[in-house]
């Protein structure tokens, strides 16, 4: 009874009705006293997994192995199952269901009466004690379930799980539907209980903060399988799987200052789970391997990730980039050893005062300027100093630059259609007649007319906002993986700026673009990016998440930029280097 784990799940599969794949091969183990969060979108098979752990789903639907305290739970006799349920592992079901016609207290103590043969008065006494443990008013035990509020039901449900003092408590969405205050209170209560009683905890939730507070380890579930498994802090703060990253990015937390980003596409239908990696239709970097071969969980960046690429990798990496412009009389050290990395779908803001080297960095990152020393890697390939040759051309189309002033950037002699089409013609991309459609499509995507006289208009006939969107279309038409935008909205009014940024964000989600946004406007950058790099005098003086840099800047440069950021009323944005971030609203 001692050398096995509390819970061993091995290649568990659940298929309902021969066609609905609810759980697709899940394996993990849990030791006594451990805490584990299982997170994922609704319908990802989390709740089904919970039922399997108590043997509530049996063959032929379920296959594989579930060993609870050394006892196989699949294909087991009813008597053995009964002997393990609730006493070894107890489960609080999603939505805290109760028998509607039986008093709550009787249900809390029911396992004692039914399983342990406790007397009525003994059961009542225990129910009272359990209620006290979960901070539930014992008077409520005499009520019927419908007379309890959602929070009270959750507590009663929790008290019920403790009735037989189980070694493992499984909570399915313990806080769903609760208001924030009672949610926080309940989470704290659960934490305290795990410490006092020392039971192992599995918490199933789509609420990431709750999961993060309750469990030391997190498994991310997608389409019925685990796609990432590791220490909670690591999984939540530096998610490796593209899905985990997208899920965590889609989740609003108090400290989020940037706009929320939905995950592109829709969750898979369990009746028709995509082949290979189930996430591939929504992943921006999937290749043939992903559509054919199912990835297994494998060690990557200090956790397990089920991804053929070992999770998100850096797309654009600049290492120790330096650039000096030699002028007559004195040299300008524009960049002195700057390192920067952007991964797939990520936005990085480069911010700094004028003359800090932002634009130089942008041009070097985009490959338009060769650094004096250091190197820039795109994927696994170093950016060449010359753009001649086939490889260079392939690389070039993967990285595009949008400049500050579209009037400078776009030839005044070409029409809109020619401007957007030119990169395709130069790159001999697709059939010539197909290019027209690609151009029209891209113009629509940036919110411009795609037919008629607009196509033959020339730059001087267009507004600044339209022109910048033409420039964006020209950059995106090559389907790049990285877009470097250098002050793209500097020449635009607020409304046009908002429009351009919204378009940029949409295209980013859709195409999985890595984005480097160069600007001196902190208010704008923090809404757009995941990470901010502060540049001053050609060096990086601060780097961190957008909320951290914008709300609690550490460097003088960053503080100045925050103070200089646009505010309608001069005092509306204060800088609290030490204030807790909760004081700040996200907008």
């Amino acid at each position: 009874m001692s050398n096995h784990s509390l819970l061993e799940v091995d290649q568990l599969r659940v298929r309902f009705g021969g066609e609905v794949d609810a759980v697709r091969s899940v394996s993990f183990t849990l030791e006594a006293g451990d805490s584990l969060a299982i997170v994922g979108e609704s319908g990802s098979g989390k709740s089904t997994l919970a039922l399997c752990l108590l043997g509530l789903i049996q063959p032929p639907e379920a296959s594989g192995r579930v060993r609870l305290a050394g006892q196989e739970m699949l294909g087991q006799s009813a008597a053995v199952l009964r002997s393990r349920r609730w006493s070894t592992a107890a489960l609080a079901l999603q939505g805290s269901p109760f028998n509607p016609v039986v008093r709550v207290g009787d249900q809390v103590a029911e396992p004692l009466r039914d399983r342990r043969g406790a007397s009525r008065s003994e059961a009542r006494r225990r129910a009272g004690e359990l209620a006290a443990e979960v901070a539930l008013d014992p008077a409520l035990l005499d009520r019927y379930p419908h007379q309890l509020s959602g929070g009270e039901r959750r507590r009663a449900s929790l008290a019920m799980t403790l009735a037989l003092d189980p070694a493992l408590v499984i909570l399915d969405e313990p806080t769903a539907g609760l208001d924030p205050a009672s949610r926080a209170e309940l989470v704290e209560r659960i934490r305290a209980l795990t410490e006092q009683r020392g039971f192992a905890l599995i918490v199933i939730s789509h609420d990431l903060p709750d999961a993060a507070r309750l469990a030391a380890r997190t498994i991310v579930f997608y389409a019925g399988t685990a796609i990432e498994d590791g220490v909670t802090a690591r999984v939540m703060l530096e998610p490796a799987h593209p899905y985990s990253w997208a899920l965590i990015n889609a989740f609003p937390v108090m400290s989020t200052v940037k706009d929320l980003r939905p995950i592109r596409g829709v969750p898979p239908d369990p009746r028709a789970v995509p082949s290979g990696c189930a996430f591939h239709p929504r992943c921006t970097r999937a290749d043939d391997r992903c559509t054919e071969l199912r990835p297994e969980l494998a060690e990557s960046r200090g956790r397990l990730v089920a991804c053929h690429f070992g999770g998100l990798k850096d797309l654009l990496v600049a290492t120790n980039v330096a650039k000096t412009f030699r002028g007559a009389g004195h040299d300008v050290h524009a960049l002195c050893g700057v390192s920067l990395a952007v991964h797939e779908g990520e936005s990085v803001g480069v911010i700094g005062p004028s003359g800090s080297g932002k634009s130089t960095l942008a041009r070097i990152l985009a490959g338009h300027l060769a650094p004096d020393s250091g190197r820039v890697l795109l994927g696994d390939t170093a950016l060449p100093t010359s753009w001649r040759g086939g490889t260079a051309k392939q690389l070039r189309r993967r990285i595009q630059l949008v400049m500050q002033d579209p009037i400078d950037a776009l030839s005044p002699r070409l029409t809109v259609e020619q401007l957007v089409r030119e990169p395709l013609d130069v790159g001999r991309d697709g059939e010539p007649d197909e290019r027209g459609r690609v151009v029209a499509d891209m113009l629509e995507r940036v919110g411009l007319p795609s037919s008629g006289s607009f196509l033959s208009a020339r730059p001087h006939e267009l507004s600044g906002g339209q022109l910048q969107r033409v420039a964006l279309a020209r950059a995106l038409v090559m389907r790049p993986k990285v877009l470097v935008a250098d002050e793209p909205t500097a020449m635009l009014d607020a409304s046009e700026q908002a429009r351009l940024l919204v378009i940029l964000r949409e295209r980013q989600v859709e195409m999985g673009l890595g984005l480097v946004l160069v600007s001196h406007d902190m208010a704008l950058v923090r809404k757009m990016v995941d990470r901010i790099v502060v540049l001053d005098g050609g060096e990086i003086v601060e780097e961190g998440s957008s909320e951290q840099v914008s709300l609690r800047p550490a460097s003088i440069t960053a503080r100045r930029l925050v103070e200089a950021a646009p505010a309608l009323i001069a005092t509306s944005v204060r800088v609290h280097p030490t204030a807790p971030i909760d004081e700040w609203s996200s907008r």
Binding site: L51, L54, L56, A78, L81, R82, S83, R84, R85, W86, S87, A90, L91, L93, G95, P97, F98, N99, P100, V101, V102, E110, P111, D114, R115, Y144, H146, Q147, M160
Partner: protein, 317 residues
Amino acid sequence: MGAYVGTILCLIVINFLVPRLMPGDPIDALVAQSSETFMFGDDSRASLEAYYGIDRPLPQQFGHYLVQLGRGDLGRSIATNAPVRDELARRLPWTLLLIGTSLVLATAVGLLAGVHSGWRRGRTMDRILLVALLAVREFPPFLLGSLLLVVFAVKLDWLPLFGGETPFSSSYSFFERIVDVGQHLLLPALVLTVGLAAGTFLLMRAGMVSELGADHLLLGRAKGLRERTLKYRYAARNALLPVVSLTALQLGFVVTGDVLIERVFAYPGLGGLIFDSIRARDYPTIQGAFLLVAISVVSFNALADVLYRRLDPRTAA
């Protein structure tokens, strides 16, 4: 409570009007040429009409009826001239016995079979019960009654052919009388029971089946409770609720069945009386019998409501 009183008041009006809307009238029936009391002549007819008060305008008749009713007087039968109240009182116990026995039996059988069938849905026992009860139910009751009579009373001669008790059985001992009444009751009660039990069975079974998928049952399983606890305390207890309402509603239909069955078995209850009085257009008797039925059905429903509220804490105020 007000709703029940209102219902009964409406029923009094309908009870009064409907018999009078039927073609023919009681005097026609009374003076039918084939009857022994055949009399001829408009004079005698007019005097009979005047005697029973049916020559007066309807509103006046209705007013008179209400006043009578207020005194607790149901009037005299036009066909037999006996006080309607006495006739009802004489026949009511028989019907109560028949309907009561059938309803109790049907509910018990339907519930037990339904619980069992639903809990083990799709198993052999479930299929047998389902087919058997449905088949019996679809069988016309009067045909079933006649069939049973032919087999058990005529061919085998195990059971009496008609009536509620053996004539002139007053000399029997108390115990013998009980056996005698029981023997007379058996077949009609059986026919009525099978018709009723099927409805209860189907509803209880459907309730059990839907309870099988209920989250609280899943919770009960997770708690490792005994099968018996799950079956009765979780599933059956919740599936029972709609059956209570159904049983109360069924009482109305039982009366219809009762009329037919009592005819087939020549049972001395209200059913036979209703049948005869309708044939004779015997307004006072029809009114009296239907009023009794209406009040019974309404009070039974009121009782069911009370019971339901006790069974389901969610409906308690």
